[in-house]
Amino acid sequence: MKFTWFNLMPWPYLPDDFREKHRSVWVDIPNTLYDPRRGHHVYHTYLDQLEYAETLGFDGIGCNEHHQNGYGLMPSPNLIAATLSRRTSRAALCVIGNSIAGYNPPIRVAEEFAMLDVISGGRLIAGFPVGTSMDTNFCYGQIPALTREKYREAHDMIMKAWASDEPFAFDGKYNQLRWVNCWPKPLQRPHPPIYIPGGGSIETWDFCLDHDYNYSYLSFFGYLRGKSLLDGYWDRVAKRGKDESPYRAAFAQIICVADTDAEAERLYAEHVLYFFNRCLHIFPPFADPPGYRTMATIKFGALAQLMRQKVLENLTWKQLVDERFIIAGSPETVRQQLEECIKGLRIGHLFCLLHNGNMPDWKTRHSTKLFAEKVMPHLRDVWPEWKHDERWWVHPMDDRLRPEERRPGAETSGAEWAR
């Protein structure tokens, strides 16, 4: 089992009356709520936490891409990963990922991911989301009905750019480049592990299976609600005759660990509720522009998407815990529920959302440390029969540098480039 410590990087200063005063945390959030001076401290706190997670033994540290979003301060996850690549040397850098339909030209993503893979010594996990409609359509202006086709084309260009040893011409519908010649190229061959984050589009399953990519279901609604979707995925895996390695799938889960269940509520409730009540306060039309979902997906999910906002009204800690939106409590409680989650969904990768909403640094570290010491070790070997399956994990170079331990100016004079 692989554990990745993930930070969404929420803005922790959304006012108490945010929900009443503003219609959306995303797209048209008043940008006067952002304060760059506070932002300076917020970024460094979050980056420190990601680095701290590596020291505690998490397998990966993760970031993602959102735009004009009160719960995401990472319009460029590659910048975040770049700082981490210089301050860590062991954990996988899980960038899930770049919303490639919005990049023009997409070769930029091939280049930046290659840079990250080389700088980190082969520790990059490359994610290619279609992107939420908030990001890809409303913030980045892509036409909803054409987004998926543009996404596929961008994917094809990037993968061909990584694979090809010679310059080639790419005559796409959305991108035409006469000379595609990826430089630098990624360190991991044939390419870094590819994760496809999905929000519930059924077409994504086949896409993952066509290419043997990891399918990452990113939801904030917990494993009971995630089950039907992942069951659908595993059905598809079986139908396609693929092996059932749990490492084909990843899931994101909000987790809070304290010494006791009651202590978890006392420490974390307000921050988790901040996340659900303020950070997920999204104007519904932004989440579902016509054409963004295919008709097949709309029919599969029927009107569930329309109703989702209803679920989010007046949530309480008890409800969040009882209905397993979140896994919270003592190490023993968390271990039990997480085992149920991991086995129920059949996942080999867990994105651990241990920072939530406006949680202060000390609580985040407290929860993270308890998880690393008292939960993670017990869940390491949930999948003994797949122990040696490294197909969806990074393969770093052995003799990579540890830049976080080096100090500029300490090099030996007269040293030549390595041959």
Binding site: N137, P144, P285, P289, G291, M295, I298
Partner: protein, 260 residues
């Protein structure tokens, strides 16, 4: 009026509401599609042979995937004229349909009679940003589209009982499909640089506008008139963006006065 079906050479199959006799008038509907009742078409059919095709993605029309950009839509318009066997018809269009009709007339300025545009989309003025129709709650739509939103709401749903889950689902699916199609030429900004091509127009042009249009405000009428030499502007009182539906008689009268 009756429904017929035509196949275009490109491969779309389109439903056309057809009726009347006289000079041919092709009417192109807007992003919301034809509604259940279209009294202005009945009015026009008293005097002309009226053809009102549904775009692919609307109603029973198919071939959604064959149209992707503005040129596809405009050429599809001409493909329909061919498939209907018409020669130099008058072209009329409402909102998105007006945008496409104008584009068609720019592409083939000698192939039409007259051009009638009802609050057409297609231009953009920074000082009058058009509300984002792709980011509206269902109940907000009528407020933006109609001078009288309450009556407008009833026109939009065509009497369907949306408290019934199945009816709601059907309405939602159809509406998603329609606007997914419209988004190809209207999202994120309904401007596909038509302004650059309007100099090519030769047809006599009428621009009718709802005086109470809150979606594309009447300031745009002046912009259209300035871009098309000799164009006549006729404001219609008591109408918002959906003027053909809100004031069918005044709308029909304006068109008859223009087309002769």
């Amino acid at each position: 009026m009756k429904w017929t079906v035509v196949d275009t050479r490109k491969g779309t199959r389109c439903r056309v509401l057809e009726g009347g006799s006289g000079a041919p008038v092709v009417f192109f509907h807007g992003a919301g599609g034809l509604l259940r009742d279209n009294p202005f078409l009945d009015g026009l059919a008293q005097r002309y042979h009226v053809y009102a095709p549904e775009w692919p993605g609307y109603g029973d029309s198919t071939g959604d995937e064959l149209l992707e950009d503005m040129l596809d839509f405009a050429l599809h318009g001409w493909d329909l004229v061919d498939a209907l066997g018409l020669s130099r018809p008058h072209l009329a269009g409402h909102s998105m349909g007006g945008m496409i009709a104008a584009e068609m007339a720019c592409l083939a300025p000698r192939d039409l009679g007259k051009l009638a545009l009802a609050s057409p989309a297609g231009l953009w003025m920074d000082e009058h940003p058009i509300p984002d129709i792709f980011a509206l709650l269902p109940y907000q739509l009528a407020d933006v589209l109609f001078h009288d939103p309450e009556r407008g709401q009833a026109l939009l749903t065509g009497g369907a009982d949306l408290s019934d889950m199945e009816a709601l689902k059907e309405f939602y699916l159809a509406s998603q499909r329609r606007l997914a199609m419209a988004g190809k030429i209207l999202f994120p900004i309904p401007n596909r640089r038509l302004a650059k091509r309007l100099y090519r127009l030769r047809a006599e042009t009428l621009i009718v506008w709802g005086a109470g249009d809150r979606l594309i405000v009447p300031a745009y009428a002046a912009r259209w008139a300035a871009a098309i030499p000799g164009a006549r502007v006729e404001p219609i009182e008591g109408a918002g963006h959906m003027l053909p539906y809100e004031q069918p008689e005044a709308f029909t009268r304006a068109l008859v006065g223009f087309l002769g």
